[in-house]
């Protein structure tokens, strides 16, 4: 009676050698080369990121203090000390107001495009226009708001800045939210429909929750970008040196505008303030990110 040999003695029995050493030199070389290239690319991408963070912290950390965060901006660039209080107030209010206008509108727009409009002519036009709008330079948007709002109400206000930022955010929110809604499998919509859910109910209770974390990330990216916009703020909100909590009355200012103004001065005190403002802005955007991640993880679907 013949028994087959146990498979333990594979290589000896003439089976394939599966060890790495058996690879040809060329394949091993290619493998190492590819790994090295990937690490090199990662390092290359991280270097500017690390350098920016390091420089801003190193140069902006010096002026950072509680008084820097809440003191008024000195109305002479030459003067030492002072703070960025009004700009922080302005950035938070203007960006917050812009987000309040652009995100709901953008998400509802995306819901229309993906759930209702689909390939209808109106939906196609909106999609095309929002793509075009994504490419509009921020200074053009600033001038547009200047003409259509600032000249109309007769003064530069924080709200005008919020309008300009909202216009810049809107197309980004629309398109990123639409992409996220498109990723929601159709089976879920059908399951809901087969249970007798109306379309709005399905959209609100099944589709939107399934896409919410992606929508949050996309919206956040738009907020972060808008928070750093400089040109429209300079054009439509003017400048103040003490905090203006009212978006609808009187000029305002924001951190990017202060960075621009202070950094373009020859005085060391102004330049220090610019670095400090830059650090503050980065921390604020980081704060937005953390808050948004927290919100989306609250909504997110737990896998286990």
């Amino acid at each position: 009676m013949t028994l087959t040999a146990p498979p333990a003695a594979r290589p000896a029995a003439g089976g394939p050698d599966l060890t790495r050493a058996a690879l040809s030199g060329r394949r091993r070389f290619t493998n190492h080369l590819a790994t090295a290239a990937i690490w090199f690319a990662v390092l290359l991408a991280v270097i500017p990121l690390a350098l920016v963070t390091y420089t801003v912290i190193a140069k902006g950390g010096g002026v950072m203090s509680l008084s820097f965060l809440n003191e008024d901006i000195p109305n002479s660039y030459r003067r030492e000390g002072g703070g960025m209080g009004p700009a922080i107030v302005g950035t938070l209010l203007i960006t917050g107001m812009a987000a309040l206008m652009a995100i709901p509108l953008g998400v509802f727009g995306a819901i229309y495009l993906n759930e209702y409009g689909k390939q209808r002519p109106l939906a196609r036009i909106i999609r095309l226009m929002s793509d075009v709008m994504t490419g509009v330079p921020s200074i053009v948007m600033g001038l547009f708001i200047y003409i259509s709002w600032v000249l109309l109400v007769g003064e530069q206000t924080g709200f005008a800045g919020a309008l300009a930022l909202a216009c810049l955010m809107l197309p980004v929110v629309i398109r990123s939210s639409e992409e996220m809604l498109r990723l929601v499998p159709d089976e879920l919509r059908q399951a809901s429909m087969a249970l007798g859910a109306r379309k709005w109910k399905t959209t609100l209770t099944v589709v939107l929750p399934a896409a919410i974390s992606g929508i949050t990330s996309g919206s956040l990216l738009a907020v972060a970008r808008a928070a750093g916009e400089t040109a429209p703020i300079i054009i439509v909100t003017g400048i103040v040196f003490s905090p203006n909590w009212n978006l609808f009355d009187g000029s305002n200012t924001a951190l990017p505008a202060q960075i621009f103004r202070n950094a373009s001065q020859p005085f060391p005190a102004a330049q220090d303030r610019a670095w400090g403002a830059a650090l503050t802005l980065i921390v604020i955007v980081l704060g937005f990110t953390i808050i948004a991640r927290f919100i989306s993880s609250r909504f997110a679907i737990k896998e286990r």
Binding site: M193, G196, R198, T205
Partner: protein, 286 residues
């Protein structure tokens, strides 16, 4: 009104009652639904041509046939699931208790609340097990003792013992077979009269399939079931009535799905009236 104008090669040897008398359970032979010369179109293309058959109450009706014969299309026409497909259209009458489901003033939402559906791929919502079952109850405005309803539905779907300790866990963590039973629980939670199943076991292994088949049998106590399946043995095992569909090519070289034979399952499989049915069930299908 729903009775004698069916154009089938064989007639099921059951009496078909008028609507309103359909309350007897068990081996009742009253028809809940009636298809009369139903054709389904996608745009100008006629996907399924002239289907007439009854759906008997508290019985399992299977639809079998080769791919592309329109059985799923007909199934989806029974609760207006084809509505959102652009260009989809139904002619003929789909009667539910004598009411034409495609009449102008019919609300498709109301139709789907009474005629539920289970899909080919298990498609639980990315929510907790509890919320999956409670979803249908909530959207239908059923308030109060949700917990009881959820437990009842999960018990009927033979899933309660497996999930009772992890109701708050995600439904996506369940196995494929459990997910499909959850989908069935979700469907029966809203207490429909008819449950349509579109190849509910095709993504499952034989053990999970056997569980679903047992479940289908249990469910006939309370529900009427229509099941589409590729699997003839499955049709033979679970159904009381079987409809055999096939695809035929017409003069213009276009394929149309067609109902060939409708009969009691035992009869269709042992003594088919049509040559094409016989060829298909004996594996000689071309």
């Amino acid at each position: 009104m729903a009775s004698n104008d069916t154009n089938l090669t064989t007639r099921p040897s059951v009496a078909v009652h008028a609507p309103g008398t359909t309350t007897s359970g068990g081996e009742s032979a009253a028809s809940v639904m009636q298809l009369r010369d139903v054709s389904v179109y996608y745009g100008s293309y006629e996907a399924v041509r002239g289907t007439s058959m009854p759906i008997q109450q508290n019985q399992v009706t299977a639809m079998i046939g080769p791919s592309g014969c329109g059985k799923s299309t007909v199934l989806r026409a029974l609760n207006r699931m084809n509505d959102p497909i652009p260009g989809a259209r139904v002619s003929g009458d789909v009667l539910f208790h004598g009411q034409d489901l495609y009449a102008k003033d019919i609300d498709p939402i109301q139709v789907r609340r009474r005629i539920g559906m289970v899909f080919q791929k298990p498609n639980p919502f990315p929510k907790s097990i509890y919320d999956n079952v409670a979803y249908g109850l909530r959207i239908n405005g059923i308030k109060g003792r949700l917990d009881d309803h959820v437990e009842e539905a999960l018990t009927k779907a033979a899933l309660w013992d497996e999930v009772k300790d992890k109701l708050r866990k995600s439904a996506l963590a369940l196995s494929g077979g459990q997910q499909q039973r959850l989908c069935i629980a979700r469907t029966i939670a809203v207490k429909p009269e008819v449950i349509l199943m579109d190849e509910p076991c095709s993504a499952l292994d034989p053990i999970a399939t056997a569980k679903i088949e047992d479940l289908i049998f249990e469910l006939t106590n309370d529900y009427t079931i229509v099941i589409v399946t590729h699997n003839m043995q499955q049709a033979a095992r679970v159904s009381h009535y079987t409809a055999f569909f096939t695809a035929e090519v017409d003069e213009a070289q276009e394929r149309h799905g067609r109902l060939v034979e409708f009969s009691q399952t035992g009869k269709l499989f042992t003594n088919p009236a049509d040559k094409r049915t016989e060829d298909y069930i004996t594996g000689r299908f071309g």
